[in-house]
């Protein structure tokens, strides 16, 4: 049976960046912020308020879950987050949707060369 991801997809830019940051490995909040800045080459900077506002939503929808990982010397205030299996499917659905958008946009740009009406 096909999963209904329509309440979640399309993703907001902040959520797309957060899920992408968590796709590779589990990270703590500050790590997510740093990864988002890195992957967007500094063009998209996430503040802690925006981050946790979105993480709250993602936790509620079981897209992201808290990990029990703790490293020696970690600040006790740190909590690690990771993508759930459902979260991976949500991210995959969004990537597929974006690929389709890009494909259509490229097609339009190729077929409709700008012409001036004579």
């Amino acid at each position: 049976m096909k999963e209904d991801l329509s309440p979640l997809v399309p993703l907001s830019p902040a959520i797309l960046h957060i899920l992408t940051a968590l796709a590779g490995e589990e990270r703590h909040g500050y790590g997510i912020m740093q990864e988002v800045a890195r992957q967007s080459e500094g063009q998209y900077k996430l503040g802690p308020g925006t981050l946790y506002d979105n993480l709250q939503k993602l936790l509620e929808h079981a897209v992201v879950e808290e990990s029990s990982r703790r490293s020696a010397g970690d600040d006790p205030r740190r909590r690690y987050y990771r993508l759930t299996a459902f979260g991976r499917r949500v991210l995959l659905a969004e990537v597929t949707r974006l690929e389709s958008v890009v494909r259509h946009a490229r097609l339009r740009l190729q077929t409709n060369n700008p012409r001036r009406a004579s």
Binding site: G29, Y30, G47, G49, D53
Partner: protein, 235 residues
């Protein structure tokens, strides 16, 4: 100074969000203030504050209800020359179906704190339990099976071997909502959170009062009621 201001900003957030993410946000402020700049972090914190109260906490519904009630009063005054008798009902949140709620219940187990957070966000009730385990570490777990009927609430919490239920009432207030009620807990002897109560002499009394299973050596189903700290000492 800026850290204190940022902490104050966090305190203005709804209780559920603050308890869940406040310490982490403060930690990020400590880490990122030098690189991101405090003004950017304050701007982001203010935007988060607005989002939490306006969009997430459902305050906008009360604002719309209040505006609707005011409009109805004005319309009634214009057409009938008198206020509508239903205007006040529209503007007041009903306890039968609270549009929003965010409250806490605090108690303790053998002087170790235990706290319940319960909130309604949109149409969904969510919550968490925070408690200190025997090794001193703070632990938390989501509330399960939250059932709300009118102002009555029943919550089930399962942590390790312990199985707890909370029966209480929602008490909304203009200066903040709260929960009142009592726990009933069941656990086996290996339970980390509440096993110390097996030797509590009051435990037997409480059991007998509630007609629970008789105590067995080494392993027994424990069952008792307590409200806040009333039966939490003397373990």
């Amino acid at each position: 100074m800026t850290r204190s201001l940022y902490r104050s900003l966090l305190w203005l957030h709804p209780a559920f969000f603050r308890k869940r993410f406040g310490e982490e946000m403060l930690w990020i402020f400590d880490e990122a203030a030098a690189t991101q700049g405090v003004f950017a972090l304050f701007g982001d914190g203010l935007a988060s504050l607005a989002r939490q109260w306006v969009m997430r906490a459902g305050t906008w519904k009360l604002a719309v209800a209040g505006a609707g009630g005011l409009l109805e009063i004005l319309m009634a005054g214009f057409f009938v020359m008198g206020p509508s008798p239903t205007a006040h009902v529209i503007a007041t949140p009903s306890i039968e179906d609270p549009a929003e709620f965010s409250g806490t219940w605090k108690g303790s187990l053998r002087s170790r704190p235990i706290e319940l957070l319960l909130a309604k966000e949109g149409a969904v009730w969510t919550g968490e339990i925070h408690f200190q385990s025997q090794d001193g570490a703070m632990r938390s777990a989501p509330l399960q099976n939250i059932r709300v009927a009118g102002d009555s609430v029943r919550v089930r919490i399962q942590v390790d071997d312990s199985d707890m239920t909370f029966n209480g009432k929602l008490v909304p207030g203009t200066l903040g909502s709260r929960l009142v009620g009592a726990f009933q807990a069941t656990a086996d002897a290996s339970d980390d959170l509440i096993s110390c109560y097996r030797s509590d002499p009051r435990h037997r009394r409480i059991e007998s009062q509630h007609n629970a299973e008789p105590m067995q050596p080494f392993r027994f189903p424990n069952s008792w009621d307590f409200a806040n700290t009333r039966v939490s000492e003397g373990c």
